[in-house]
Amino acid sequence: MKKVKYSIFSMQLKSALRSKSAMTAFYITLVFVLVNAAMNILTYQSTDLLFMKQPMQLLLLSDESGIPSYIFIQLYPLLVALPAGFTLVNDYQSQEMLLQVSRSGVKPYFRSRLKTAFFATAIVFMVPLMLDILLNCLFFPLDAVGQVSFDMYTPDGIAEIRTYLWYSLFVSHPYLYAVFMTVWFGVVSGVLGMFTIAVSSFGFKYKVFVFLPAWFLLNFFGWLKVLFPSIPIDTMYSLYLQMYDAGSKSEIAALLVVAFMAVLSILIMERKRKKDVL
């Protein structure tokens, strides 16, 4: 007899990516990418190559880019809950959880829910942003020199470049840096998606509260520096997610916060798993 292969993870990932909310987040990101590219083409058409920015600085994730990139990063706390945040609440409310748990067991169910949240959120944001890199390579001259706002080789310029997140990669491979930062953006989004799922496992009556964890956390980091000016580094989330930003950032602090969130959401899920599903 042929054994039926059943992978709960691939099933959950497919259904999460096909859901209405994940599609909404994907299309919103895609629209921002296209609008940003179109606006940049209109702005920089027939510009001399000497004054042209490097293509990677016109990405949606770049701080040097136009208004769409600003609006996107402002909307991000709301968008990040969309791709996978509602999956667990939906399962609770439609009792579908029982079916899946009885088929695969409690442990695989909750573990694959976390994995789904991570990968679905990361994929939904990373695919349009990777497309952005490709589009910009097509649209803008690749031999453009770079920053216009300052001279790269003056001490001030070097000091500004040193404030970029992981600047050593930028100095050696500027294009790889854009890919790397997009992956970093995807990883942070994925961890925020995991966190949303973990907090939503406490059970919300209304779905609007699914937005709360990621939205509140990101805004909280924004307020932190204003409330306590004695903190030596900037805490605004947009500085850590956008490229080419000149703020005083700490890579270790960013990594620690992301790791802490990931561990916290795994711990919450493990605790939840040990309770009765009903």
Partner: protein
């Protein structure tokens, strides 16, 4: 009653946090030059300050909107919650839905007014602990204007969230309304370009578009005072908190109040129309039908 307690708790907490942030940002320079802060300065700061049209200024403005978003988040689905029950039980006995609707929107309105008053009062109290405050002539009139503008705005936003929640589910309500406000705020960055200011015609366009933008009406520092004293205190505040004062004539307070009032009335009418038409909630609305 429980709703009001929650409202007071959230408002006083966020008012206190807001006051601390204001003390660290706006009032640092002001305390250096004047050594005393007046109550109208506090009200102007709570009315989103007087940001300049740059990325940093708009970012600051967006962060200061946070208590308003918090209100919409916490109390945006009150009528929707009641509708879930009423749609099944109450409306079968009581066919006059208009009465029910009036009671519900009155509830939202009182909550909005309570929230804006408590937010401001808690904030002023926290500021008073740190520095002495000067009670000036314009404080009362500014307070009334603040109350009117913010109550109308919070009321209309909470109403929109409720109406969208009844149609589509509570998550879409908050997403659409919150996203819309962020968009409206960020659109102001179009004027950040300095070249736009250069010619007078562009200035007129900018003025026209700012007058149409609902979120810009909430910024008390961009307004023109209704009398000489208020004008003076707004200008004093602008000069001491921003590096670059916005050089446009300013929005009229009367215009703002009429505009936001019209928005609120139109939304209330649309909401009434919707409640009359909506039969019952679709059962799996919250499940998304996925």
């Amino acid at each position: 009653m429980k709703d009001y307690q929650k409202c007071i708790a959230v408002a006083s907490l966020s008012g206190g946090v807001f006051a601390m942030s204001v003390l660290n940002s706006d009032f640092v320079m002001m305390l250096d030059t004047y050594e005393i802060i007046s109550v109208s300065d506090c009200i102007l700061s709570f009315g989103l300050g007087a940001p300049d049209l740059s990325r940093i200024g708009i970012l600051r403005l967006a962060m200061r909107m946070f208590p308003l978003y918090l209100f919409q988040f916490m109390f945006g689905c009150g009528m929707y919650q009641h509708f879930c029950v009423s749609g099944v039980y109450y409306f079968t006995r009581q066919p006059a839905r208009f009465k029910w609707y009036c009671r519900e929107i009155l509830h939202i309105f009182v909550q909005a007014a309570l929230f804006s008053v408590i937010l401001l009062c808690a904030g002023i109290m926290v500021i008073r602990i740190r520095t002495p405050l000067l009670m000036d002539n314009t404080a009362i009139s500014l307070f009334i204007l603040y109350l009117l503008l913010y109550t109308l705005w919070l009321f209309s936003m909470a109403l929109v969230i409720n109406c969208i929640a009844i149609k589509l589910g509570s998550n879409w309500g908050f997403l659409i309304t919150g996203g819309g406000q962020i968009l409206a705020l960020s659109i102001l960055l179009i004027f950040a370009d300095k070249e736009l200011y250069a010619s007078g015609q562009r200035m007129e366009q900018a003025q026209f578009l700012i007058n149409l933008n609902p979120v810009a009406h909430l910024v008390l520092g961009w307004h023109r005072g209704i009398n000489f004293m208020m004008e003076k205190s707004i200008i004093r505040y602008q000069e001491n908190t921003v590096f670059q004062v916005l050089d446009f004539p300013g929005i009229s307070f009367y215009h703002s109040i009429v505009f936001l009032f019209c928005v609120a009335v139109i939304l209330a009418l649309i909401g009434n129309f919707m409640i009359q038409k909506q039969e019952m909630l679709i059962n799996d609305l919250e499940l998304g039908g996925e």
